[in-house]
């Protein structure tokens, strides 16, 4: 009888006490939960938009989102719309805006959820059938006449800015914009300014200046004030990053966390085959073509091990011949979706194609800041309809788990897309012990399949899984080298 171990949990002699693991769960707060929210208000034509764009340029982070009040105008009825076209409709009172919808959107974003923003058309005076989806924003700029009007919104903001530009200048800018870009004529634009814009500004808008933390006179021309403001925002974001990194580092430091007996963790068995392949992959003299070939083999083994985690099967009788008794078979019932973390997770794609005839493949781009090491979500492309799909299981791929930070972030993205923790199978080739601890501390129910594990310090703890005595600080477990060698580009 040949018998090779493949399961961490089955190895322990006594039944592992798993309850504690699930109870000790710690919450991970990704940077897009509690994003930094900036409110910018001011008269029409005061330069709010220019200042917002200036902030976006200066921060230079892809996860900065501009949320314009313009998209939250209430859709008009037929009669109202006719009035609007005759320039007789008042767009400039707070009532013309759907502040409830705006508040709901910002609240969702503040909680890290995905939000859908309507797209408003000034030509049609109504909402178009388009929507913009916002997710993963770290900084949100809310810009609009009444950005500082609603108490509920004010409470969500981290900094409130009022742009105070002289009304004459505002009028000049507004006329240019309305006539050139919004298809109005001079007469109509003037009529609107006199009947609606100016009176409303005086009655409703100007008093909101009192709600601001910072008032910027003369708009974009006020270079000093804008520099000071951006400096302040950058400093706050730096502090937020630090807190995020500290939070990630603190996870999984608890000493009594025995991943060796962890029920949801599977490590490939150490046998001739895996030892031999590992040796080829680790060897610095291995040719690129060999590296790719042997990684593909290893990846296929990891995927097969991941599929052993599936449990949703239905019995089927398979008739192979009318005269033979049927074969008592099983049919896999889950909808499988692969998600790779760019670039290292893409090393699994060849093996995925070998294992599945058709499987949708989603992608996440998560990169660590080169200075601070903070993981940052740059892009997420998940298969359409993933939120509502029934019986789904997500195979999430990243070739290496080092600090665990990117993995935690990737899992959080899936959870934000309404995917259950138990429906995620995280597949990786090399993993540090601390990385695993951190992931399992936050997501104890996620299933994890790894090819090779290193130890935190005492290598004798994993005699079966780490006979080579690798520790977390060894080069291979500390450097993201797999994808560099696989794709041949540093």
């Amino acid at each position: 009888m040949t018998c090779s171990e493949s399961d961490v949990s089955s190895e322990s002699h006594s039944e592992p006490n798993t309850e504690g693991y699930f109870k000790d769960k710690t919450k991970y707060i990704p940077p897009w939960t509690e994003p930094y929210i900036i409110g910018i208000a001011g008269n029409s034509g005061s330069g709010k938009t220019s200042i917002s764009q200036q902030i976006i340029r200066e921060l230079n982070q892809p996860w900065t989102v501009l949320l314009s009040f313009d998209n939250f105008y209430r859709p008009l009825t037929k009669e109202q719309s006719a009035k609007a076209f005759a320039n007789e409709w008042d767009f400039d009172t707070p009532d013309s805006l759907d502040l409830d919808a705006l508040y709901d959107t910002v609240k969702k974003l503040k909680q890290g959820e995905k939000a859908r923003i309507p797209v408003y058309s000034f030509e049609l005076h109504g909402r178009t059938d388009k929507v913009t989806t916002i997710y993963g924003a770290n900084v949100i700029i809310i810009e609009g006449l009444y950005a500082l009007y609603d108490k509920r919104l004010l409470d969500l903001m981290d900094i409130k800015i009022y742009v105070d530009t002289d009304l004459d200048i505002c009028l000049a800018r507004r006329l240019t914009r309305d006539i050139l870009y919004r298809g109005r004529d001079l007469q109509g634009a003037m009529k609107q300014w006199e009947t609606f814009v100016k009176p409303n500004a005086v009655r409703y808008l100007n008093p909101t200046m009192n709600n601001a933390d910072l008032v910027i006179p003369r708009g974009l021309d006020n270079v000093v004030a804008i520099d000071l403001m951006i400096g302040h925002i950058k400093k706050q974001l730096g502090l937020k990053s630090l807190a995020h990194i500290r939070h990630l580092k603190a996870l999984g430091q608890d000493i009594e966390f025995d991943i060796h007996r962890y029920p949801n963790l599977k490590v490939l068995p150490i046998n001739n085959q895996t030892m031999g392949i590992n040796s080829i992959l680790f060897n610095k003299n291995t040719l690129m073509s060999d590296f790719i070939f042997y990684f593909d083999r290893m990846a296929t083994l990891i995927i097969e091990a991941a599929l052993d985690q599936l449990t949703n099967y239905q019995s089927v009788d398979i008739q192979t011949d009318p005269n033979f008794p049927p074969f008592k078979g099983l049919q896999q019932r889950d909808n499988l979706i692969a998600v790779t973390v760019i670039r290292s997770g893409d090393c699994f794609v060849t093996s995925l194609k070998r294992t599945f005839l058709e499987i949708p493949i989603g992608k996440l781009l998560i990169q660590s800041d080169s200075l601070t090491g903070e993981p940052q979500l740059h892009q997420e492309r998940l298969p359409r309809g993933i939120d509502n799909l029934k019986n789904k299981k997500i195979l999430l791929f990243d070739a290496q788990i080092i600090s665990g930070a990117a993995a935690i972030m990737a899992i959080q993205v899936l959870i934000d897309h309404k995917i259950g923790e138990t429906d995620i199978i995280f597949c990786s080739y090399l993993s540090t012990e601390i990385g695993l601890r951190r992931i399992l501390r936050v997501f104890p129910r996620v299933k994890i399949v790894v090819g090779k594990l290193s130890s935190l310090g005492d290598t004798s703890k994993f005699p079966k899984y780490n006979p080579e005595q690798f520790i977390d600080s060894n080069w291979h477990f500390k450097n993201r080298f797999i994808d560099s060698l696989y794709f041949g580009a540093k």
Binding site: N272, M275, F293, D308, I318, T320
Partner: protein, 218 residues
């Protein structure tokens, strides 16, 4: 690959996981289209090859790693080659090549003699140095074991050591395993499934139909 339950120590059955039974359910189903049949058969074949490769010896050796680290790893030892029994065995060559690039592949054609109803050797083409190699003998079905035993006979005559032969098949009948083992106890059989029985017409029950016909679409 995990635990293999089995017969004797030289019969290695792939772990009968739900996953594997699911794959067999697809290829046994007579309504499965050829493209799917080939795809999922290849997947099972790769698992068989991986299990076969896992049986090969390794030598402890110091690995010089990137990052100037060194550790005691393992080097694959011994040269291998594949030998397929024409025609159905050739269907397994692709899976073998997926796991062992540029592996040498020999061929043996054995057919049933119309007059005696016994298997007869028609053709063989094997690597020159086959006696120094580990041999993966490829034939998807082990029914009576007649052809496989004749192929082993050819290999032994060419100087291959019996304990260096691995007979890889997708489906085996208990009777076939028994006959084969009695004659060549040192040859390892690696199979993905052991069926109920061999019927009077020498078909594996419930089986999966004619593997070669289904794989080649004839």
């Amino acid at each position: 690959m995990s635990t293999s339950t089995n017969y004797s120590k030289n019969v290695i059955l792939l772990p009968q996981t739900n996953q594997l039974i699911g794959l067999y359910s697809i290829i046994r189903d007579q309504s499965t289209r050829r493209g799917d049949f080939v795809f999922y058969s290849d997947r099972i074949i790769r698992l068989l090859v991986e299990e076969g490769l896992n049986q090969l010896p390794v030598q402890k050796t110091i690995i010089k790693c990137h990052g100037n680290h060194e550790y005691e790893g393992a080097k694959f030892l011994g040269k291998i080659c594949g030998v397929s029994i024409v025609r159905a065995g050739e269907s397994m060559e692709m899976g073998l090549r997926d796991c062992c690039r540029s592996v040498r592949i020999g061929k043996i054609l054995i057919q049933r003699d119309e007059e005696t109803a016994l298997p007869k050797l028609f053709y063989e083409k094997l690597p020159e140095d086959i006696s120094e190699r580990y041999v993966f003998l490829l034939d998807p079905m082990l029914a009576t074991g007649g052809s496989a035993m004749m192929a082993v006979q050819v290999l032994l005559a060419r100087g291959v050591q019996a304990d260096r032969i691995f007979f890889l098949n997708l489906l085996a009948a208990p009777e076939g395993i028994q006959t084969f083992q009695n004659k060549y106890p040192e040859v390892k059989i690696i199979t993905g499934g052991i069926d109920q029985k061999l019927n009077d017409d020498k078909f594996i029950v419930p089986g999966l139909g004619d593997f070669g016909d289904r794989y080649y679409g004839i």
